[in-house]
């Protein structure tokens, strides 16, 4: 069994008004040092099989990310079998 940690973020060219609003709030809280803040989605997918990377790529391309405005990256780790 594997655990895929998938991160979906907006492409740089895409303005994300939610992230802007959060950044403004952070600055208003007094953290003037904050210059930029982005927001994205995080998924944990437990997956079995021999072609895990290929399947995760497909799942990201088809559903988890909209490649028109988002990009994704992931890390895959092997989970220890339960004893």
């Amino acid at each position: 069994m594997y655990l895929a940690k998938v991160y979906v973020t907006y492409k740089q060219s895409i303005l994300n008004p939610e992230a802007e609003a959060i950044k403004d709030a952070v600055v208003r809280m007094g953290y003037d040092d904050v210059k930029d803040l982005t927001l994205g989605k995080y998924f944990e997918v437990k997956i079995d099989g021999t072609n895990v990377e290929h399947e995760i790529d497909e799942i990201c391309d088809k559903l988890l990310a909209n490649v028109n405005m988002e990009s994704y990256r992931y890390e895959i780790e092997e989970l220890e079998a339960a004893k």
Partner: protein
């Protein structure tokens, strides 16, 4: 003629469309469940607004994997008209039937008000009852209506006259003030404003009626309708 109104868990404009077609236009519309896998019995398909699957992940992202969307793709391939409104537009872009994507409004606010639209292309199945350059007023109600596509796609849309409606006063940040686009083949249109909510003066505007008249007119003139 017979319209299919696709309905998904979370659709909320399907009855407005039903009223517009059956009561105002005097044609026949039926609700078709997202679980169905055929649209063979219909002349035109309407994808309504709402929040299909709660807009989980992204508007339209999950609805597009419903069995009915596969059928909708086959239906569109036959050249029959498909109109997606609001969440319906989002579903059509997610399904790849139209290019681009609907992002969050730049204001980060849900915008709900009547807006003025410019009819940029009246030579379509959906807009032939309007004058070119006519201004019509339709309501919008969306949080994710900010149309975006890459520069290459935008050039394509302009070159092929696929931008059908533009906002007079952009409410959501859409590129080139785009309110509605059509596919290259000219039979699939997606738009954020709601023509079905503007089919009687009592509702504040009857400007949306022209769209349904256009669809019916083009089907009749192509001899597709049998009484």
């Amino acid at each position: 003629m017979k319209f299919a109104i696709l309905s998904f868990p979370g659709s909320n404009c399907e009855m407005d469309l039903y009223h517009a077609i059956n009561d105002v236009m005097g044609e026949t519309a039926e609700l078709v469940s997202f679980k169905k896998d055929s649209l063979d019995d219909y002349d035109a398909a309407l994808v309504p607004g709402g929040f299909s699957y709660g807009d989980y992940l992204r508007g339209g992202a999950i609805a597009r994997f419903s069995p009915i969307i596969k059928a909708l793709g086959e239906f569109a391939d036959t050249g029959k008209p498909v109109l997606g409104i609001c969440n319906g537009f989002q579903i059509l872009t997610e399904a790849g039937l139209l290019p681009g994507v609907l992002q969050k409004n730049t204001s980060a606010k849900f915008v709900c008000k009547p807006v003025e639209l410019y009819v940029n292309n009246n030579d379509t199945v959906f807009t032939n009852q309007y004058e070119s350059g006519q201004t019509i007023t339709l309501p919008v109600a969306h949080g994710e209506g900010n149309y975006f596509c890459d520069q290459e796609t935008l050039k394509d849309l302009e070159a092929n006259n696929q931008i059908v409606f533009k906002y007079r006063d952009n409410p959501n940040g859409s590129v080139e003030n785009i309110a509605g686009i059509i596919n290259k083949a000219g039979n699939v249109l997606g738009m954020m404003p709601h023509p079905e909510r503007a089919v009687e003066e009592l509702l504040g505007s009857a400007d949306g009626k022209g769209m349904f008249e256009s669809i019916i007119n083009s089907m009749v003139s192509r001899g597709i309708v049998y009484e």
